[in-house]
Structure formats: C-alpha cells, structure tokens
C-alpha cells in the first residue's frame, strides 16, 4: 500500500493533492466507490449529519410514513399502468377477451382499462394496488393530520408545514378524483357528468368554463386526455414538490416528541437514523407495500367491467364516488333546492355551488388558518416541540372532534340511499335527519368531548395524588376492607404533571385608559372573550405542594383514627 501510493505520488503535478488515505479499516471497506463520490460531491459531511439524526419513536408518528409510502407506491404502479392505458375518448368496438362486452362500442380509455384487467398478465394486480394505495394515501394523510392537530404539533415553528400538509391533502383529493375518472366506465362517467353540472353552477363564468374544460359540449373527447395530463404530470409534480418541502421542514425543525421523563422542549430523544430508524422506517415501506399487495390480491376494487362503458343515458342505483369525495357528495344531497333562485334574470344555483365548488376550498382554508387563529387567541409565541396530550387542551380537542363530526355527517349523507335500503327506512327521513345533525351533532360532540377531556384530566390528578389502584384488597383486623393504592414513581408521575394549563386572559373593560371605547381596546376585549372560551374549562396539573398535602392528609387521618385508618383515608381521597 505504502509503496503503491508513493509511486503514484510521483505522478502528481504540483498543487495536486493526493486522495487522503482511509481513516480506518472499516472505512477502507466502504472503499473506492464512496471516496470517488465524495471527492466529487463532498457528501460525507452531509451524510454523517443525516445518519446520526435522531427520530423519536411513537406509533402515531408512523401515520405520516404510511401516507408517504402509499404515495410512492402510487407513483410506482402508476408508471406501470401508463404503459398500457390509452387516454383517449375515441370510440371503438371492444375486441378484448372479456366476453360479456365483446363488440360493444366504447372509448379507448375504457377498452384499454379492460385490457389491463384481463389481458395484461398481472395487470389487474397492479391496477388494484394503485387504487388501494390511493385510498390508503388519503386515509393515512387524514389520520396523520388528525394526529398533528390533536397533539398541537402545528404550533410554532411548524405552521408553514401545517399549511403545506393542508395543500397536500386537498390536492390528493383532486388527484384521486382525476384518476378515478380516467377509465371512462359508467360510474366514473356519471361522476364526470355531475362534475360538469358543478362547474355550470359557478356564477357568471360557469357555462363558459365548462365548455373550455370539456372542449365543447359534455362529454366530448377532450376531457379524458386532459384529466390524464393533470393526473400523471401536473398534480404529481406539485404533490412531489410540496411533499419534499414537507419532509425538509421536518428535518429542519427536528421531529416533535411526546412529553416524558428526560424529554424537554430543548432536546430530541429517540433513535438515530443509522441503523435503527433506517431499518424500522425502511422495513415499514415493505410492510405497507406488502399489506396493499395482499389486499389487492384478495379484495376486488372498482370492478369497471361490471359497470359497462360510459353512456349518458343509463345509470346504476347506488351511484357514489370514492369515499374521500363522499363528504362533498353528501353536502349536495343535503343542500335544499330552495337555494337555487333568480337574481336580475340570472340563475344562481347555490344548492350546487355551495357543496360542489365552495365546500372543499373553504374547508381547507379554515383548516390551514387554524394554527394562526389559535395563536391569536392564546397569544403564545414560543416554540413548541413537546406534543400536547389531547385531554390537556380540552377546547382544541373538542373543536377538532366537532369538525370531524360535521365531516362524518356529510360523508354518511352520501350513503343515504344505501342506509335507507339496508335499514329499511325512509330516505326522506334519513336525509332530513342528516340535515339537522349537520348543525346539532358538532355542538353536541364539542360539549361531550370537552367534558370527557376534563374528566380524564381529573382522573390523572387523582392518580397522581392518590396513586394507582393496585388490585390488592386488605382486610383490617376489625373487618373493614380497602384497596391498596401504589404511589407513582417519578417517571410515571412526570407524564401526568408535565404540562401547562394557562388561565384565560382577564376580561378588560373594552375601554382605554381614559374610559373611552377605542378600537384597540375593543379588539383586546374580543380576544379576551375568545381566550375565555378556549381556556375557561381547565384542570391544572398537580403541584408538588398538592402532592405533599395529599400525603399529609393521609397520614393525618392515620394518626387520628387508629382503627380502619387506611380505608377511611382512601374513601376520603376518592371523594375529593
């Protein structure tokens, strides 16, 4: 080795530096290839920074990973499908191997989708993995979003990432709808038919926009290739761009962690990327892919051959979109007809426009704005890296549950016909019930959730003050029974007391120092009222003094009433 390198050194020109010798035996093994790359990219510095990066471990952190992997699986299987799919609405007679449709006139899009399902070996599997992965993508990113919301992970410094996530979620819906419409079967074509009606409902420009999008009268031959371009090029590019920004920001911020012993707002406790996190997260990709393959092998999804080609005249009962568009479809079923009216001789169909066009952007705008609204109310401008337990922020948790309730009411409303048939009930009654529930149910669940959160917090307090129930019953000499409570250790206790419970802002008078009602003072009053709404129902964490008092209380009882002291003390405690 030494002779070889000194021999080569002779060949160097002045000013050239010879490659540095590997630092250790193991580095030598990684060898020449890595050295070649590093000399041209300097990647080793960045790599060692990345490889020792720490990720906290919790099952709920894997939800975003599921979404990420589902998206990658969609991209991968999508490339496969694009090799056989023909994005054309041109009408041809079907010549494939599926006998029931032989000779029927259909679009090339539908015919080639039948080809993928019946004539391409393994094509059906790839198509089903693609569809299941798309559904999994939307499900997992929604649940990931719930996790981030309920734990307050959107707080400073992560507001931008919350907004990016919101956009990803909305684009995922549109991407899904575009892909769902491509096979041009009867069901998806009916969906497009409705979509054309949605666009027409836009005031002033609706009819023109519809003609531009469809390249003339519905259905036309333009929409399938256009949706294809949107589905395979435009939206995936935007999704990947936003997703990359999302991940980079996670790196920059370092991952949040749950409160626990040793975990503070100034550190991250977890496993390094190499090797533990690589093995777990990398292995998890294969688990998600494997699970999707298994489902796709065993459960048929979107059997387009059973629906037939699109034709504007026939329709099937129980027409429904994929689940993630259900809430918008449900809104359309609930909005009453009287919302359509005439204004200066023009027709305004709010019964369609509100549910089909406005609902999605409005819903996502409110979602995206939430971190900023909450920050305005709380006035909290600190960085937060420790996650909230949902029970410890009752109002936020209740707001989230109320929003999900409203969403679910709309989603179930999209199945009002199925519910009516399955439960043998009147569809009219069901629809009216959903109309009422849309307004009433969120209020109810808000209230119930807040009460549950407060109860759970009180339970936590009890546990800290009086210990956990050990399950051991003790009989005293004079025949009384009591259950022994075990005091929590420092680590377990910290999980229950390591949080803040701020008091609401004091209500100002709404007047400035001179007793005059000014704009600023009114704003302060408004803010204080919101602060009261947000923080008024609260339970404070146990303080060391309270714990000492609880201990003292128990001992005190024991001294004063020698017989049956323990039982009495416990009884007292549970009444507190």
């Amino acid at each position: 080795m030494s002779t070889a390198s000194s021999a080569r050194a002779a060949d160097l020109r002045a000013g050239d530096r010879k490659s540095s010798a590997p630092a250790s035996a193991s580095a030598k093994k990684v060898g020449a290839a890595a050295s070649w790359v590093d000399e041209r990219t300097g990647i080793a510095k960045g790599a060692s920074f990345m490889l020792k990066k720490v990720f906290p471990d919790h099952w709920s952190f894997m939800l975003g990973e599921v979404a990420m992997y589902s998206m990658i699986i969609c991209l991968l299987t999508g490339v496969f499908l694009s090799l056989w799919f023909i994005p054309s609405a041109g009408q041809i007679p079907y010549e494939g191997s599926y006998l029931p449709l032989k000779g029927i006139t259909m679009s090339e899009a539908y015919s080639s989708t039948l080809g993928i399902s019946f004539d391409v070996r393994g094509g059906l599997l790839i198509r089903q993995i693609h569809h299941w992965a798309a559904l999994m993508f939307v499900v997992s990113l929604s649940v990931h979003m719930f996790r981030v919301f309920f734990t307050g992970a959107f707080r400073k410094p992560r507001e931008i990432n919350w907004v990016i996530g919101t956009m990803l979620s909305m684009l995922a819906l549109i991407e899904g709808f575009a892909g769902y419409s491509l096979p041009d079967d009867l069901l998806s074509g009916t969906g497009l038919r409705a979509a054309e009606g949605f666009i027409r409902s836009v005031p002033i420009i609706g009819s023109y926009v519809s003609y531009m999008m469809f390249g003339g009268a519905f259905p036309g031959e333009a929409i399938i290739p256009r949706l294809y371009a949107v589905h395979v090029l435009l939206l995936p590019a935007v999704l990947i761009g936003l997703f990359t920004a999302h991940i980079i920001l996670v790196m920059v911020h370092k991952h949040t962690q749950y409160s626990g012993p040793g975990r503070t707002n100034e550190n991250v406790v977890g496993f390094p990327l190499m090797p533990v996190y690589t093995a777990k997260a990398g292995g998890f990709f294969f688990l998600v892919f494997g699970l999707l393959s298994l489902i796709s092998a065993l459960v048929t999804i979107n059997p387009i051959w059973a629906y037939g080609p699109y034709d504007p005249s026939p329709v099937t009962a129980g027409s429904q979109p994929d689940w993630y568009m259900g809430f918008a479809d449900g809104a359309l079923r609930l909005l009453p007809g009287w919302l359509e009216f005439e204004i200066f001789g023009f027709t305004l169909s709010l019964n369609v426009f509100l549910g089909a066009v406005l609902l999605i952007p409005v819903m996502y705008t409110i979602t995206g704005a939430y971190p900023f609204l909450e920050r305005w109310i709380t006035g909290d401008n600190r960085e937060h890296h420790i996650l909230d337990r949902p029970r410890n922020v009752p109002t936020r948790t209740a707001l989230g549950v109320a929003a999900i309730t409203a969403y679910l009411v709309l989603m179930f409303a999209a199945g009002n016909d199925i519910i009516a048939i399955r439960l043998q009930m009147s569809i009219n009654d069901i629809t009216r019930a959903f109309q009422v529930l849309f307004f009433v149910a969120p209020i109810l669940t808000f209230w119930v959730t807040r009460r549950i959160c407060l109860s759970l917090q009180r339970h936590d307090r009890d546990k800290v003050l009086h210990g956990r129930e050990s399950g051991t019953l003790v009989r005293t000499p004079d025949g009384q029974y009591y259950e022994v409570h075990e005091e929590l250790n420092d680590y377990d206790r910290w999980k229950l007391v390591g949080f803040e419970s701020p008091a609401p802002l004091a209500l100002p008078s709404g007047k400035d120092a001179n007793g005059v009602a000014s704009k600023d003072a009114k704003k302060e009053l408004r803010r204080a009222k919101w602060s009261k709404f947000f923080f008024a129902s609260r339970v404070e964490p146990v303080t060391p003094a309270e714990l000492a008092a609880a201990h003292h209380h128990g001992e005190h009882e024991a001294i004063e009433t020698p017989a049956g002291a323990g039982a009495h003390a416990i009884k007292q405690a549970s009444q507190d």
Partner: protein
C-alpha cells in the same frame, strides 16, 4: 399548609434507567432472534420465486375458489399473495432485526432555536440592500417601473394561449339551449327506443310502462354521446285519472297523448340520468342525489336538492300511430347555469 421549600411545579426527572432486552444479555436469545430474522428474509426469497413461477405457469383466465372470498381469478391471487409475502418478509425481518438486535438505548440530540441569530439576519438584510443599491434599483424609477410591468405581464401570453385554445366557449349558450329534438323543417320527430332505435307506437305503451327514448335524429348524429347527453327522454303511461287535478296536472296531460308523457331524463340538479321510476307513486328518482319528481304534477320536485321540474317534451302521434314530438323542449334541459333564463 404548603411548604415554601417545595417548587411550584414538578421537575423533569430525566431519562429513566435503561432496561436491557433478552437478546442484549443472553447469547441464546440473540441467536434465536437472528434465526427469526433470517427466516423472514428466507420467506421473502421463496415468495419472490413463487411469484415468478406463477407468472409463467398459471393461465390468465383460470378461476379458482378461495375460502371466504369466493370464485376469483387465480393468477391475480397468486401474484398478489406472493408479492405480499416477498415484501412483508423483508418488512417484518427488518423491523424485528431493529427491535431485537440493534441498539435500543435512546439517544439525545439537542435542539436549537429555529431563528437565525441577529448577526446572520443583519448580514442577510445588508446583502439584499447592498445588492439592490448596486443594481441602482431605487435611483432609476424608470427601470423599476418597466421591469415590474414586464414581469407582471410576461405570463399573459401563456395564459391567453391556454384559455383561448382550451375550447370555444362562444357556442356554449346556444348549445346548452338546443337539443336534437328541435324541429328544423316543420316535420315532427319520431320517438325511438334507446338502444334498439325503433319507433314506438302509442298502442304499444301500456299503462305503467316506461320507455327510455331518443329522437330519431340520433341516427344522423355525428356526436352521439354529446347529443344523447341532452336529448335522453323518459316516457311513461299513466291512467289519465292519475294526473293531479290542478293546473300542473292538466298541463302535463295536455302535452302528452292519452296519458303517455315524455320528460327529459337529465336531472335539473347536476345532470345525472333520472333513471328510477316508481310505478305505484309515479315518482321519478335520481339515483345520484335522490331528487324526486312527481310525474302526476308535471314532474315537480317533491324531495331532494333539485329546484326545477324536469322539462316536458310535448308529444302526439303521426298518421301511422307512432309517437312524435312536434317541437323541441321549451326550456334548456339539465343542470342550471347562470344564463339559463336569457
């Protein structure tokens, strides 16, 4: 009672002591874990082989009975299950490896405030200002104004090209109003059965019957789907006494022929075909959003999100007894739009 020596809140007790796993201390447990992981990887290898064998050995159209699932395509099941096992073997293997044999002692990394320090901020602002200054941005307002305008406008050509060429919207209002039922030469248009495209004799329509109908002009259409999307009609025969006694019922009856009435099949809500006819109640139901129309009262909306009744097609019979439409629809069919009344 509170002790002044106690802190106001609890203090973070720090990381709990580490508990070792079986494989950390017992070499036999570690060996067992190694075998389990290797077993999972082997499962993956075998399944990959299984996938390739099935791909070549099983026919495309072989059906097989799978318990709990029913009769299904065998190739799809075999490929999917083998692919799943090949992937799950790697996944479970890697995770099990990480959980049993890789270090499980947590590592602590410090966080630093996200914000840059004041010095870096000042430097960045200074660089920006110096750059703007050296480019003479503020000293030359003419450059600022023209550059700004040019940048603001440069996307316009692309936008115009896109919007201008997507589709010609000038025909939109005329086309939304017209259907191929519109009579051109004064000759009434025959009603034909959808699919078969044969004309319908009034005598063939018994009470309670429903026909899916298109205009005979569909045979000459060059845009079959587009024309069908507006011209689809539903034809029903009611007993003349079934119509409501009010004005609506009378109008419906007078535009029909001996209780036979024809209505646009395109829902006035968002355009789905109103395909479900309830013979007993004479209600038409749209399967998409459940708008319900009452045929006895000129297809007025009696439930659901639609506002307007389905447009009626006036019909009569010609000399040979076939049903014909002497005129097109009196109003635009299908979903509402801004200029509908214009």
């Amino acid at each position: 009672m509170s002790d002044p020596r106690l802190p106001a809140t609890f203090e973070n007790p720090g990381l709990p002591p580490h508990v070792h796993r079986a494989a950390d201390t017992d070499p036999r447990a570690a060996k067992r874990a190694e075998r389990q992981v290797a077993g999972l990887f082997t499962l993956s290898i075998l399944s990959t082989i299984g996938f390739i064998v099935s791909y070549f050995a099983v026919k495309n159209d072989t059906e097989a009975f799978i318990p709990f699932i029913g009769t299904t395509n065998l190739l799809n099941v075999l490929l999917g299950v083998f692919l799943a096992l090949a992937l799950l073997g790697i996944g479970f293997g890697a995770v099990h490896w990480a959980k049993t044999l890789m270090p499980d002692e947590e590592v602590v990394e410090e966080r630093h405030p996200i914000r840059s320090d004041d010095e870096s901020r000042a430097k960045a602002v200074g660089l920006l200002e110096a750059g703007a200054e050296s480019a003479q941005l503020n000293r030359r307002p003419l450059l600022k104004a023209t550059a700004g305008t040019a940048l603001g406008l440069f996307a316009l050509p692309l936008g115009v090209q896109l919007a201008g060429s997507l589709g010609n919207p000038t025909k939109a209002l005329d086309e939304l109003k017209s259907t191929i039922w519109d009579v051109k030469d004064g000759k009434p248009i025959r009603l034909v059965r959808d699919v078969e495209r044969t004309p319908i004799k009034a005598a063939d329509v018994s009470i309670g019957a429903v026909f899916h109908v298109l205009p005979e002009t569909i045979k000459e259409s060059h845009h079959v789907l587009e024309d069908k999307a507006k011209a689809a009609v539903l034809l029903m025969r009611l007993h003349p006494n079934d119509f409501a006694a009010d004005d609506l019922g009378k109008k419906a009856k007078s535009w029909g022929y001996e209780g036979i009435v024809a209505y646009s099949k395109i829902c006035t809500h968002v355009g789905c075909p109103v395909g479900l006819y309830e013979q007993q109640t004479h209600h038409l139901l749209c399967p998409c959003h459940q708008s319900t129309f009452d045929v006895t009262r000129d297809c007025e909306v009696i439930f659901g999100p639609a506002k307007r009744p389905l447009p009626q097609l006036k019909i009569t019979v010609d000399a040979e007894g076939y049903l014909v439409a002497p005129q097109g629809f009196a109003e635009p069919v299908g979903p509402s739009y801004w200029e509908r009344k214009k």
